[in-house]
């Protein structure tokens, strides 16, 4: 079985190189001392990593992306948790229709979502770009929130809250004292999934940008079209480590992959 023994390491080596290699090159290129983006990097310096923090538009769009990722995910959870609870614990007429409506934003390409919001919400109702971005990101995260929270409600036996109600607790009290503590892991996982999805999202935000209002990835694309220095590589590397760090911690403390 010589052939088989070689097959596994060679296949995995090639696939992992193809998937991870480009990312390592970006990390290496961001330590370059040269003026332009190149690999192998010319010399070693931290100047491009330092430069990332001095570009004003990066700072503004980073705050915008953070606001959208955190605010949008919280809003999606506030809408999504009661909906998931109703879908899994109640006999609800039209439950399938509601489920389809709530998870629809995942099926339609993001660029179309962004464009239709611009045309039919922003322009006719004079909605600000920031609010439109917030609505778009909330709609985008809602399907993930409902899916992950529903899955974790599905794993929780429903008779314990029925017992709480029988023992005199109010329905609401039973939800907050019995259900919520038990689906905490699922909610945190939904939050992280929503955060990463929103933060990395480009097509939805593409049309929803105005003077000084842009999400970070859209800003990075605009920057790299004009300037060809390693600062976008440095920023990419920093953001990648941020995402990986968050997901790693989530896996460590929550067992993230059980929910997603």
């Amino acid at each position: 079985m010589m052939a088989r023994n070689l097959f596994i390491p060679i296949t995995l080596g090639l696939v992992i190189t193809f998937l991870i290699g480009p990312f390592l090159i970006i990390v290496a290129a961001s330590f370059s001392a040269g003026e332009t983006l190149a690999f192998p990097p010319q010399g070693f310096s931290l100047r491009w990593i330092a430069k990332v923090f001095t570009v004003e538009s990066f700072r503004d769009s980073f705050y915008m992306s953070m606001f959208l990722a955190i605010g949008g995910t919280l809003a999606a959870l506030i809408l999504g948790i009661p909906a998931s609870y109703a879908l899994s614990r109640y006999k609800l007429p039209g439950a399938e229709t509601i489920r389809t409506i709530v998870s629809a934003p995942i099926i339609v390409p993001g660029i179309i979502v962004g464009l239709s919001l611009l045309r039919y919400i922003v322009v006719p109702f004079q909605v600000g770009i920031t609010l439109a971005l917030f609505l778009a990101h909330t709609a985008l995260i809602l399907p993930y929130a409902v899916r992950v929270v529903s899955a974790s409600l599905g794993n929780l036996r429903s008779d314990i809250e029925e017992a709480a109600v029988l023992l005199g607790s109010s329905r609401l009290g039973a939800f907050f004292r019995v259900v919520l503590p038990n689906i905490r892991g699922g909610i945190m996982s939904a939050f992280i999934l929503g955060f990463v999805t929103s933060f990395n999202q480009v097509p939805v935000s593409l049309f929803l940008s105005g003077p000084g209002v842009r999400t970070l990835p859209v800003d990075m694309i605009a920057y790299m079209e004009i300037v060809f220095d390693p600062s976008v590589a440095a920023l990419s590397a920093l953001l990648a480590f941020m995402s990986i760090g968050i997901v790693f911690l989530a896996e460590r403390f929550l067992g993230f992959s059980r929910y997603v």
């Binding site: 998937l19 090159i25 709530v102 934003p105 593409l206």
Partner: protein
């Protein structure tokens, strides 16, 4: 199960109304734009006009071609990789799966940007080609279909591998040794045993990869430039350069129809293969 209908609606309706108002209504209106006749009434002339342009035809065919090619190549590599991963011992399996999933956490902008360093005029590939004497002048790899293909494959391959890993793990453990003992060669084992038993995984992975390719914006925008367009980048150009919202609506519907068609077609293919299998078994008996 609680029975209170009013309570249930009060819990579920805010989310449904939000999605309907912010998402479904605007998208439906946008899609209807493509069918509106200038003087009122409905028409499909925007669609005939769209497809009569040779540039649009080329973009449509390129999108279809790249989507199909990336999906097929991802399935081939995906099978090899997933097969290798499930035959690892449990500890290693988790670590390798983690490495495969890792790129999904990284921003697609960062992942696509890396290919500029690799495929550019002074990139690694051109440096290597010139050092080895394969080519004299730097090749133009960036801003081509090849570059978009590589970028899309790297972006979506993990989705295919993950779908196939779970499909292979759910396969009966002794199916392959049994087929081997009965004299099947590796090609037959794949075609007649592994593929039919993992078809659900291929359908899920294939739909994810194909739909991903159709709706990817960053990859064709960065690696294709403004000349080698796909439907998504064409849509963006129609809006920002030509201000043509009717064409944008047409492209939007084409994209949505293509994703649904791919999903249905893949499911069909999977069930049709199963029927032929059963029929052949019938005649053999």
């Amino acid at each position: 199960m609680f029975q209170n209908r009013a309570e249930a609606l009060a819990l579920a309706l805010p989310a449904a109304l939000f999605a309907a108002a912010v998402f479904i209504a605007p998208v439906v209106i946008l899609l209807s734009d493509g069918f509106r006749a200038p003087g009122g009434g409905w028409t499909i002339s925007a669609y005939t006009e769209f497809f009569s342009s040779s540039l649009n035809q080329a973009v449509f065919l390129r999108t279809l071609k790249l989507g199909v090619l990336v999906t097929i190549v991802a399935a081939v590599i995906g099978y090899a990789a997933a097969f290798a991963i499930v035959s690892l011992e449990p500890g290693k399996k988790g670590k390798v799966t983690g490495l495969i999933v890792l790129p999904l956490m990284i921003s697609p902008v960062a992942r696509t940007y890396a290919w500029i360093v690799i495929l550019g005029r002074t990139g690694i590939v051109n440096q290597a080609f010139q050092a080895l004497g394969i080519s004299e002048a730097p090749l133009r790899i960036l801003f081509s279909e090849t570059a978009i293909f590589i970028g899309l494959l790297q972006l979506f391959l993990p989705l295919m591998i993950i779908s196939l890993i779970s499909a292979l793990e759910n396969m009966p453990k002794d199916a392959i040794p049994a087929a081997r003992v009965l004299g099947a060669n590796w090609f037959q084992v794949f075609w007649k045993v592994i593929l039919p038993l993992t078809k659900e995984g291929v359908v899920i992975g294939g739909t994810l990869v194909f739909t991903g390719c159709l709706t990817a914006y960053i990859t064709p925008a960065i690696l294709g430039g403004s000349k080698v367009l796909m439907l998504e980048t064409l849509l963006y150009q129609q809006v920002t350069v030509s201000n043509n919202f009717v064409a944008a609506s047409v492209i939007a519907l084409i994209l949505i129809v293509m994703s649904f068609a791919a999903n249905i077609l893949l499911k069909r293919v999977a069930t049709a293969r199963n029927k032929t299998m059963r029929n052949t078994k019938g005649t053999a008996q």
